[in-house]
């Protein structure tokens, strides 16, 4: 009997064959936390009485949410993490180096690995063929201290996406469509495994967007087989030796198969205040927008910035709308500076922020006021997430962000392509 990707990776990491529903204690290849969850994780490590961590080279703390810090309390948290890391040999990814999930995808995550992060969007790493999942600070503290975690091996929902993606439709639209179909709890406790010819052609940026939002359907992981596109990504990141084949067995047992015909998709939007309140662009009507936010662990990659820049090239953003752009990592930032993407965005009227989570979690760099409306490329639109509980967040693709910035209302990117 064949195994799903999740079963395969967890079996390899627990030293025995494990199947959906079983509890496994698995070896962790990479463990990380960010500045909002890291201090608690460190305190839990200390509470458990550990003086060191099991694998400091593969233990990271990312200063990404409050970067640079807007409050002294958060600066103290940063210093707490720096001091702990200095003492224990753990790695710190400094302010301005980018969002944890983006940086680990560039530098660390390998196909077939188990990756545990104290951030729900750790599942982004599934795009590279890893079993990458988010956990709370205590679970991550244990993963750091002991190099292992207990997991229930998830049942897998297989998502088959086939057909040519229409112009103006991207990975973001695929995942929003899926969440609209199965709901924000549609994959709770389960793995989503993405496959089909559309997925096979999708570049790594698009796969990461989809994997990132797997958790928005409640999933533990969103996995992809590693293939030539994965290999190209690792080559581009200067890590050719990190490639490994990571695929499910052809006769794996799935709980269910969900089919998506990519040809029927159109630009898709999640409406306030819940990620499964899904509308297509044709259903959305007129929604005036105060702020457009491009970036985050969901859509802060070079490809995303380029798509928006292509739409905004030679145009100006709407006078009543501000557009904020936050590259996902320093590498993305440098590449977008070198190829002129940043220049195009700034000339059109966008503001740029240092690499990091930026405005996504309502801390700084674009906090929404009462009644304000934002079209964001981030993965989440809960009430009050970006500031006032009386503000409204709509989620869409980077292309939609570009079109919306021009028109000052949620706009169809297909007109500009």
């Amino acid at each position: 009997m064949g195994m799903t990707l999740a079963e395969k990776i967890l079996s390899e990491h627990s030293g025995k064959e494990v199947r959906a529903g079983e509890i496994a204690v698995v070896k962790v290849d990479l463990a990380y936390a960010q500045d909002g969850t890291g201090p608690l994780a460190v305190r839990k490590i200390q509470e458990m009485g550990f003086e060191k961590v099991s694998n400091p080279q593969k233990t990271f703390f990312f200063l990404d949410h409050a970067a640079p810090s807007p409050r002294f309390e958060l600066s103290n948290d940063h210093n707490f993490l720096r001091e702990f890391s200095e003492r224990t040999g753990c790695q710190v990814s400094e302010v301005g180096y980018g969002i944890s999930h983006q940086v680990v995808a560039e530098k660390e995550v390998k196909p077939g690995e188990v990756v545990i992060g104290a951030d729900s969007h750790t599942c982004t790493g599934g795009a590279l063929g890893a079993f990458a999942t988010g956990a709370g600070s205590t679970d991550v503290a244990v993963a750091m201290a002991l190099g292992k975690i207990w997991l229930r091996v998830p049942e897998t929902l297989r998502v088959v996406v086939e057909g040519e993606l229409p112009v103006g439709v991207y990975g973001k639209d695929i995942i929003l469509h899926l969440i609209g179909r199965i709901g924000a709890a549609g994959a709770t406790y389960k793995a989503l495994e993405f496959t089909g010819d559309t997925i096979g052609r999708l570049e790594m940026a698009g796969r990461m967007t989809i994997a990132n939002m797997a958790v928005e359907a409640g999933a533990k992981v969103g996995t992809f087989s590693s293939d030539e596109i994965t290999r190209d990504w690792l080559n581009r990141m200067g890590r050719p030796g990190d490639f490994k084949k990571s695929t499910p067995d052809p006769d794996a047992i799935y709980e269910k198969t969900i089919e998506i015909d990519a040809r029927t998709l159109s630009p898709t939007i999640a409406c306030p205040h819940q990620v499964d309140h899904i509308r297509t662009i044709d259903e959305i009507g007129e929604v005036r927008v105060d702020q457009v936010y491009l970036g985050t662990s969901c859509n802060g990659r070079l490809e995303d910035l380029r798509v928006a820049a292509n739409i905004l090239k030679g145009k100006k953003i709407h006078p009543k709308t501000r557009m904020i752009v936050t590259p996902g990592s320093r590498l993305v930032y440098i590449e977008a500076l070198k190829d002129g993407t940043m220049e195009t965005l700034i000339e059109a009227g966008a503001l740029t922020m240092p690499p990091g989570c930026g405005a996504c979690v309502g801390l700084h760099e674009g906090v929404l006021g009462d009644g304000e409306v934002c079209l964001a490329t981030q993965p989440r639109n809960f009430k009050g997430r970006m500031g006032s509980p009386n503000s409204f967040i709509y989620l869409g693709s980077p292309a939609m962000a570009g079109a919306t910035a021009i028109e000052g209302k949620i706009a169809d990117p297909r007109k500009y392509l």
Binding site: E73, A118, T138, L146, R152
Partner: protein, 165 residues
């Protein structure tokens, strides 16, 4: 221990439980815990009493992995969270902090009802309605973590993870 029901709806996220804008208070848990659920019920922290229950609908605790959500519930003296379903990370976080999260038919509880939870026996007595609601037993792993007093205590006790069921 008996406690009162505080009822919430479906899809309560960790952002509802403890808003992201209090990020800067995460190293100051007593201050942070005052802001529990404040968009849903201003001054919830002031009104809730030790031993009360949070009762909700589907997908309670969805969203961010912030364990602070489970911690502030515990710090406000809530004895258990009862919901029709829970988001995955939040569910683990509860047990890791010694807070029971029970999946049951919460339609049977109304605001202010007085309940008593019998965790081992899988039932909840609703004194206000003179009714008993039973629920499926907790998964053995969760039971063990809870009886050890949370995951930190578990690891302190065994020096390891001892949960191979």
């Amino acid at each position: 221990m008996k406690g009162r029901v505080w009822k919430f709806g479906d899809a309560i996220s960790t952002d509802h439980i403890i808003p992201g804008r209090y990020f800067y208070l995460r190293s100051n848990l007593p201050e942070l815990s005052k802001h529990i659920m404040e968009y849903e019920r201003p001054d919830f922290s002031g009104e809730v009493s030790h031993g009360d229950f949070i009762v909700a609908g589907e997908n309670f605790g969805q969203g961010s992995s912030r364990e602070h959500a489970a911690i502030v519930i515990k710090m406000n003296g809530i004895q258990a969270v009862l919901a029709k379903s829970f988001a995955r990370i939040f569910y683990r976080n509860c047990f890791n902090n010694g807070l029971p999260a029970v999946i049951c038919d919460t339609e049977k509880f109304g605001e202010g009802d007085v309940l008593e939870l019998f965790l081992e026996e899988g039932r909840i007595v609703n004194y206000s309605r003179d009714e008993t609601v039973s629920f499926l037993p907790l998964p053995p792993v969760m039971k063990q973590i809870l009886s050890d007093g949370g995951l930190v205590e578990h690891v302190k006790k065994y020096g390891n993870i001892r949960l191979d069921f």
